[in-house]
């Protein structure tokens, strides 16, 4: 019998669109409405059929797999827990408990997306707002080093460029859209203004903009590959708008300068608030990567790259972060929670993953799961288990479970491993 589930949250990206309609036939999703191509892919390809854990590629009972995983982690000298961004905040909380019990390091995918943004926030503060404010108020939207048409496809329609807001009643016509990027991306093609910054030129551009906002004149004819005249026009627009907004992506965090780029961007926004209302938000990729930062911050005091080897949390981006720990070959056992480092980390880090025992907890048998010493197939948050996820603007949303689950949640598997570790 077909049933419909309304207002389902899509957890693929940080937009967490909460208006999805699913049609279910028993335990199959047969129709998905309102989601973008990425969201469609998430729901339509969801396969709940993998029911058995695997030890070294062979099916095993849950008890055996939990025992094996607990022993691997307990006997490791330097275990690392990594991932966290595509699971519920409830599971994230248990992963921190497990890291503490093991004296392990724990890091989320933040360290390879907006970790530098976290560092910048700690220096400057976070000039933030909700997506609702943007929808209702923002008349100047700047997208810097991000390509939401590809990565957050419904962002424009739901939150930023298109919607008719309370104080922006003309929708798209009432908003000016500027894109700053190295490439003429799909997003740049629909902008009112596109500024093509030269590779590695973002910091210079930000410093120049800040100087112009402060009323200083520039000796240079260009900054970051963009003429001073064009920059002056942008600054005039920035000061004249009623509510300005900068969305920024990994064009700032992954290039030369990293956290310094974002620090400069935040201080530009701070400066602009002397003239008008301005905010900035990172475009968060994974569905609950914002939750990973939140949960780690509540429990450890730091958003990522935390180590518990001394019995209390220590913060060390560049030391306790996943790429550094793996490339320096320090980690001797890895627990991957809802992430796929084999597909997404630099090859030198992947080489080390191939040499150490790994435990992977994931609804899908990813590249990392294929290589895992122990693999646990789990229910997916927001599909066949409930949970909480944080939208990119830090708003927590409750996730329902439209489908009946036949597999345990990430949280349940982590609790069982924690029990196992305590018994070892």
């Amino acid at each position: 019998m077909l049933t419909k589930a309304k207002d389902v949250v899509c957890t693929f990206c940080g937009c967490l669109c909460d208006d999805i309609i699913l049609t279910l036939d028993e335990n199959r999703i047969v129709r998905v409405e309102r989601a973008c191509a990425n969201g469609m892919g998430l729901f339509k390809n969801y396969n709940p059929d993998l029911l058995s854990p695997k030890i070294r590629g062979k099916e095993a009972s849950w008890e055996k797999a939990i025992k094996e995983a607990s022993e691997i982690l307990s006997s490791a000298k330097y275990p690392l827990i990594y991932g966290l961004s595509s699971t519920s905040s409830e599971a994230q909380r248990v992963s921190v408990k497990l890291a503490e019990a093991l004296g392990a390091s724990i890091d989320s995918t933040s360290s390879v997306c907006h970790g530098p943004t976290g560092l910048a926030m700690q220096f400057v503060g976070e000039p933030t707002c909700t997506l609702g404010e943007i929808k209702n108020r923002a008349d100047l939207l700047i997208f810097w080093g991000c390509n939401p048409i590809v990565s957050h496809s419904r962002h424009f329609a739901r939150y930023s460029v298109m919607p008719k807001g309370r104080f922006v009643q003309d929708g798209r016509k009432g908003r000016k859209m500027v894109v700053i990027d190295v490439r003429l991306t799909q997003t740049a093609r629909v902008a009112d203004v596109f500024l093509q910054v030269k590779p590695g030129g973002d910091f210079e551009l930000l410093v120049a903009l800040k100087a112009l906002v402060k009323g200083k004149s520039l000796d240079a004819v260009e900054a970051g590959g963009i003429s001073t005249k064009v920059l002056q026009e942008l600054v005039t627009d920035m000061k004249a708008c009623r509510y300005g907004m900068i969305f920024f992506g990994m064009g700032l965090t992954m290039t030369k300068g990293r956290d310094l780029n974002v620090r400069e961007l935040f201080s530009l926004v701070k400066e602009l608030n002397d003239h008008t209302k301005f905010s900035a938000l990172p475009m968060r990729g994974h569905g609950n990567v914002t939750g990973a930062d939140q949960v780690m911050s509540w429990l450890c005091g730091y958003p990522f790259a935390v180590n518990f080897s001394k019995g209390y949390p220590r913060y060390g981006p560049g030391e306790f972060s996943v790429v550094d720990l793996l490339c320096n070959k320090e980690t001797d056992a890895l627990l991957v929670l809802a992430s796929d480092p084999v597909a997404h980390l630099p090859s030198k880090a992947v080489d080390h993953i191939m040499e150490i025992p790994t435990i992977v907890i994931d609804p899908a048998e990813s590249l990392s799961a294929k290589k895992a010493t122990v693999y646990f197939p789990t229910a997916m948050y927001g599909v066949d288990c409930e949970g909480t996820a944080y939208r990119m603007d830090g708003v927590p949303l409750r996730l329902k479970a439209p489908m009946k689950g036949n597999r345990p949640s990430d949280e349940e598997v982590l609790e069982a491993i924690l029990e196992g570790v305590r018994r070892c």
Binding site: A37, G41, L42, G115, S151, R183, L184, T253, P346
Partner: protein, 119 residues
Amino acid sequence: MSKEKNGKEIVCTMISGRTLEQAKEMHSGKNSKSYSEAVGKVYVSPLLLNELGLAEGEKIVLKSSFGRAEARAYVDPGLPHFVVFIPMGPVANLLVGYETEGTGMPSFKGVQVEVCGAC
């Protein structure tokens, strides 16, 4: 593994990032052929493709100080002359720098690479 074509290697800046195709194929499984194809592409400017003496779909060899990768060339007219773009994934990650400069973040974007055709 293909060999580098004789001729000049051209120095470019490599950036990696999401593409619609990469995301779509990721959902159908990272072990699939279509995923490998989606992440095994390198986008170049029309000028660069011409200078390399290649047609779309032909192989390019890319070398950074961290590794070597091969990918099939496709044109993106929106790219600056000496910037190449690879969809995020295992191919781009062969070239990515692992120095994190005390931040935890490696250089997924802005990596200097030498590119040339493959034979």
